[in-house]
Amino acid sequence: MKQKEKGPALTRRAFIKSTGAACAMLFVAGSLPSLVRPAAAAPNEKNINDVLKKQFGNKNVSMSHVDIKAPIIAENGAVVPITITSDLPMRSDDYVKKINVYAEGNLEPYVAGIDLTPANGKAEFAMRIKMRKTSNVRVVLETSKGQLYGAAKAVKVTVGGCGG
C-alpha cells in the first residue's frame, strides 16, 4: 500500500521481489511435494518402521513370495483397491497365518489384519483401503512356522481419503 505512493521504481522492485519469492516457493513446492505436504498436515504421523518393530520385534522380513496388485495412481484415496497374492503353500502343516496390511502415509499406518487358515486353499485377499496421501502400501505375511514375508508398492494418491 505504501509502495504505491512512492512511485513506479519501488513498485516494480516490490513486484519483482514478490514474484521472485512466489516463483521460488513454487519451485520448492513443485520439486519436493512429499516433503512440503506432510510437514504441514501431520504432526503425529507414525513411522512405519516403528510400527513394524513394535509388532514383530527385530525379526527379519524377507521381501519375497508376496505380490501386491494396486493402482500406480489412485484418483480417489478413499477407495484404493488392492489385491495381495502369495505363492506360499496353504497346507495344514505350513500355511499363511496372517496378512498384515499397512498404508505408510496414514496417521495410523496399520490398516487391517487378516487371519487365514488352510481351509482358504489360497493365500489371496482383495480389499479396498483408504490412503491419506501418496505413499507405500506394505504387506507383511506371517506363516504358521513364524516366518515373515513382505512386499511394498508405491501408490500415488491425487485426493486423500481420510477426510478433514
Binding site: A78, V79, V80, T83, A103, N106, L107, E108, Y110, V111, A112, G113, I114, D115, L116, T117, P118, A119, N120, G121, K122, E124, F125, A126, M127, R128, I129, K130, M131, G161, C162, G163, G164
Partner: protein, 109 residues
Amino acid sequence: MASVGKIKIRVPNTIKKGDVIPVQVLVSHPMETGMRKNKDGSVIPAYYINDVDVFYGNDKITHCDWTIAVSANPFITFYVKADKAAPIKIVYKDIKGGVYEQAVQISPQ
C-alpha cells in the same frame, strides 16, 4: 443410513469339489473414521467395522481385524477350498455393537 449392514455375497455358479473358489462380499457401511467434519465444523463420530468372521460349516476359516482405513462399503474377495456342502457365513461387527451376518450355501458337485 438405512441400508447399513446390507450384505451381498457372490460365489461361482458351478463349483467342483475341491476347487478353490473366490467369494466376493460387499457390505454397506459408512466406515466413518472419526476424523471427518460436518459442514458446521463438528466431528462426525467414528463408526466402522472392526471385526469380520467367516465360517464354512462350523469352522471359522478367516478372521479380519479392521481399522478406520478400510474403505466405506467394504468389498472383499477371499478364497475357500470347496470340499464339503456347507454354508459360508460371514459376520461383521462394528464398534457401535452392530452385528450383521449372511450365509450362502455351497454345494460342490
